[in-house]
Amino acid sequence: MKSKNYSENIIKVFKKDGFALSKPDVLLDSDYIIQRSGENFRKSMFTFEDDTGKNMCLRPDLTIASCIKYLNDNTKVNTKIFYSGQAYRRSNNKKDKIINDQLGIEILGSKNKSTDDLKVLRTINNSIKKIKIKNTFIKLGDVSLFQNLIESLKIPERWKMRLKRHFWRPQYFEDLLNRLETNSDIDPATVDIDKKKFSEMENLNQSTEIANRKVSEILSRFDRKLKDPRSFLENKKIAGIIREFLKINCSIDKLEKTLNGFAKKNKLSESVFKDLSNIKNLAKINSKTIFLTNFGRDIEYYTGIVFEIYNSSKKEIARGGRYDGLLKSLGSKKNISAVGAAINLNNL
């Protein structure tokens, strides 16, 4: 089957399942993306200046391009869309493709998590079946489980936030765990000097701003930082629990048992991983589904389930997941939940 036939057949399945064609822009305002997603995004974008000096880029990702279109169109309702097009990504690794042909679906404004997660995975899986690719298997993860675990641990709030934020950067995450273990965070010598400064600043007008931060804001963070409970022994144990969690790798039908065993062994509260029905639901799609806790750590915007579908020669042919925070970070005033997935035509 040729690639054109592939696309036609896949699109048939998308349409049948109620997804409508959307044509996101190829050129995007790169300052807009960087202003909202941070500078590290720049390294994957092809950027250039237009005649007026405005920074533009080729869309690095069709999910982001679709979200921007959704916000620009000021769509008020939840939409089920599909797209077919190219994404352009810069990379230092010569093996990576620069132009990626993608066919994907998104549910923007997803109201029912469980139904919509299942719907996206099912539609993608059906379209792969439709083009007669057999013996696929799925790798599945759920970022929210990691977040539940961190919430349940007895560590300072600041540390919880840090660990959650840096789940996406495995290397830096390991640095963080090492720092948590050794508690090398606060230097007592400087703290003494700054306490003097602290009392001086208490006498200032608290709403005075210093480089965009109010005096009150600076002082309250300083205070919070010093009051954080710190216990070296406990931290070492906790780093161990996190490391152990991230090694979990089991078939989906054993997930509940494995997680419960893990929670019991480490004396975690019974309700840490209470609601697994959403994930177990997804097992209906493909019996060969493996669950990994250490998964989905390369795309920062995922917030819930993450999956990749592989063909029999272990090539990734599709990937997707839930991203409940992306639309807000791209400028939406309210939270808009979303879930989507794309098939990578280059690997078919």
Binding site: I34, Q35, R36, G38, E39, N40, R42, K43, R158, M161, R162, R165, H166, R169, Y172, D175, L176, R179, D185, D187, T190, D194, K197, F198, M201, I210, A211, N212, R213, V215, E217, I218, L219, R221, F222, K225
Partner: protein, 225 residues
Amino acid sequence: MKNLITIGLPSKGRLKEKSINFFEKNNLKPTSNGGERNYFAQIKNLPNSKIIYLHAKEIIQRLGDGTIDVGISGLDLLKESALNLQNKIDVKKKLDFGFADVVIAIPNDWIDVQTVADLEEVSFDFRDKKNIRLRVATKYPNLTNNFLVSKGVTQYKIVPSLGATETYPFIGSSEIITDITSTGKTLKDNNLRVLKDGVILNSQACLLVSKKKTAMLGPFLNSLI
């Protein structure tokens, strides 16, 4: 002329003086045949050579395109340049002058911020509470990006600066800066403080050579001490 060695030296300030000293110490005295402002010079006892005085930044560029074969410039400027340019240039020798560090500096009154890890937290506060990115003014966008991202700071935006970067946090153009400093005095005088782990690069003057010419120039370069 075949085997002509073209040498690029900094055209201004202390870096120029010290670069000339370095050559003189090696018994190679640059002599100008024109007025004081002439940008060309010769070395008497090295007849197949010529010297061009250039902006230190330009020395990197010209080594890359092959206009000059050897040059003296700062390590900071080399490391800041594009990767494909860096790949064309070898650091032959680190010289004994031009010491300075590229650092991250923050307003002195941000007493709650001591380390890059603190900065990372504050950058998320900016995003979550004010819905803006922390702005970092710099003449070194590449070095700054690599450093910050490697330390887990991702929620920020670069503001390119051409000079007097120290003023930016206090005129509302950025919140923090990265800049080059040798004594730290300018930072201090402008109410800024370097983060504890905020040294991005230890820089110094370097003898640089275009990779293509390394073989041809080997004997000459090895004679320099």
